[in-house]
Symmetry: C2
Subunit: 412 residues, 2 copies
């Protein structure tokens, strides 16, 4: 099947999903979970093939780790599907509504997008997670995974489609899009058939999709996040937030990559901070003023300021003012999550007003910028664009709206 044929089949399935009741969709999610649990052995065997091939091809250990499934990871996928069944259905929500003077009633109602394309890298768990979120929000999904996870993804999708068939929903609501690289281009060109593309993965993948897709894109995830320790910051609070935001899970997009310290705070903050960072195994790339406060500070480069490390590395700079911090962040931020630690209400106000990012934090760890932490129950990604959705995206962000206008013969 060509991508076009797959997309047409998805559109047909989407028509059914658009009017499926919540109980029917929830039954499907539980049936998909059951089928995936039953297919555990097949999924793990398929995954073993992918892992072996990746290792033979000399793939890095980090990527092989993302690719590898275990009974626990399959269990998490199964649980994830059941969790989504427990979430409220956004479809049919009335966002707002009013009655005009002439008696015409207007309601703005949430509706599914239709067909969603997910382009992602070698994380087979995304296959089940994205399929569950799309199904619950009434969308058919075209899953364009990495070829390195082809066997794993196929096994997972086979199971999910069995679940759909069990409850009588169209199996083409969940489809894997296999094939060579050109297939991604076809998907990006399928305007009118695919309603939205969501790339999930590294900066290179996201940039490629954003630049080449004719289908509307929701950009997710790249986070070159800054933590600014203001002159008035409580050093203990700043250190606790820094360590949490840098080391609790360094590989995620809401981890901090650059620390900026006001020159007035530096003498009482940086010596302790540098020690604590060293103990936590963090490699520090600092400017000359930072290096004055501790040993083991590598010279920071232009590239460091620009880098989303996703590792136990941290760039540090000392700045002379809030203005300098704002300017640095304006230059290097990817618009994900930016944090200030301060005791000054005026500084907090300026920071939150002037920083242009999906999330701006005052005296809290950027690790809170997350769908689960926000209480969304599930998350398809964190949008760093300004159109449609910005920040953590839950189920409502996977919908569009439609105006339903009801009258009794009114004309203009």
């Amino acid at each position: 099947m060509t991508v076009q044929q797959q997309a047409l089949a998805a559109r047909g399935a989407a028509q059914t999903l658009a009017t499926a009741t919540r109980s029917r969709k929830d039954a499907a999610l539980h049936a998909m979970a059951d089928a995936l649990a039953k297919a555990e052995t097949a999924v793990l065997e398929a995954n073993a093939t992918d892992v072996r091939r990746a290792e033979e091809a000399g793939t890095s250990a980090a990527i092989v780790d993302r690719l590898r499934l275990t009974p626990d990871r399959v269990g998490a996928m199964v649980d994830g599907l059941r969790d989504v069944a427990g979430l409220p259905d956004p479809v049919g929500d009335v966002v707002r509504g009013w009655t005009n003077a002439n008696g015409v009633q207007v309601r703005q109602v949430r509706v599914p997008f239709g067909v969603v394309g997910i382009v992602y890298e070698a994380r087979p768990n995304v296959t089940a997670d994205a399929a569950g979120l799309c199904l619950k929000s009434g969308n058919a999904v075209l899953l364009r995974g990495s070829s390195s996870a082809a066997a794993s993804n196929a096994a997972v999708v086979d199971a999910l489609r069995l679940g759909l068939a069990d409850v009588g929903l169209p199996v083409d609501a969940v489809q894997l899009v296999p094939g060579p690289r050109e297939v991604t281009d076809e998907l990006m060109g399928a305007r009118g058939l695919v309603d939205v593309l969501i790339p999930r993965g590294g900066a290179g993948l996201i940039d490629h999709v954003v630049r080449h897709s004719v289908v509307p894109v929701i950009e997710t995830g790249v986070g070159n996040c800054h933590l600014y320790v203001d002159a008035s910051a409580d050093p203990e609070m700043a250190l606790a937030i820094l360590l949490n935001a840098k080391t609790q899970r360094p590989s995620v997009c809401n981890a901090v990559e650059t620390l900026l310290v006001h020159a007035d705070a530096a003498p009482r903050f940086l010596p302790t901070a540098l020690e604590a960072l060293a103990r936590a195994g963090v490699t520090v790339h600092g400017d000359a003023r930072t290096a004055a406060y501790g040993p083991d500070v590598r010279a920071v480069t232009q590239e460091d300021w620009e880098t989303e490390y996703l590792s136990l590395d941290l760039a540090i700079g000392v700045v002379d003012s809030l203005d300098d911090a704002l300017a640095h962040i304006a230059t290097y931020s990817t618009g994900h999550s930016e944090t200030i630690v301060t005791d000054s209400e005026a500084a907090a106000q300026r920071f939150t007003a002037e920083i242009d990012a999906a999330a701006v934090l005052v005296n809290a760890s950027s690790r809170f910028v997350d769908g689960s932490e926000f209480g969304f129950g599930a998350e398809i990604g964190i949008s760093t664009q300004k159109l449609h959705a910005r920040g953590p995206m839950g189920l409502p962000e996977m919908t569009s709206t439609k105006y339903v206008v009801t009258g009794s013969g009114q004309t203009r």
Copy 2:
């Protein structure tokens, strides 16, 4: 100045606008209105040059009419700016907010996009209207008008910038982007500098921008709108709605272009309807079953079904069922506004649930799908895409959001 330089200047201005208070922005809008009123003569002289050039170039009378400004039209632009000053400011609105169990407060707040690009055709009034809406929503605007309106647009923008200067806001918040065709390409490539592009004009312009822009686009306006007269429809109500939706203002995107009539309703509806349409000067392009009900029915072609006439033309087809009507609309709709006239609650339910469009109407004229009719006060266009905004776009649709997260040292 290159487009890049203009966009950089706009970004600088946008930073100031983002934190400008409502009273400051409203003062600017009134100052812009004053300056434009004062510049009436200069604007009309510049416009006369554009009109003369267009006429010499053999431009069609319809386009010359759109291009032509009169004292009344300039007055309408001035009034429009003052009207926008009277509308609520969307910036700073808290869309939702909550406090997490750990005391972390999360608020989702409306913020401007930053820099908005408007690409439009030879309607100089768009220049002032779009500038006013962008300014009120805190956005800097790059106005890429048609070269045929270059002198008119320049005169209008000169006046608007004088108004901005009068209140001390950066004049680069409103800029005209002059130059040859390639300049539009540069604007469409200015990702990271321009936050969103909104094309306003015909289908060709919109399709070009949508397909070539790397900057996110909000698609507006093409409306191949259908009116379906169900078996159970009240013929008088159906006729009133049809005449209103077709003839009250045929050149707009929410006018009806195709009428579908259930076979059971056709004998009691079509003879009268065809007479009334003829009296109203409407040219009917009908299928064979329609032609049976009246004289002067031209044979409908595939192209007719696909056409947004924007004129006193109407395609008519007789269908055997609601299913056939839904299928026809699914094939030819541009997703703008689709109407059913029916006395059947079940038919109304199915129509509103299954039609995939920005607006779905029951027993009301599609002419109501409009920012003013919806009470938005002003409208930048009607979005026919599913991302971000769908349907009439008012000031809130010209904003993004930002999460402001406030704590007292919380970590995960």
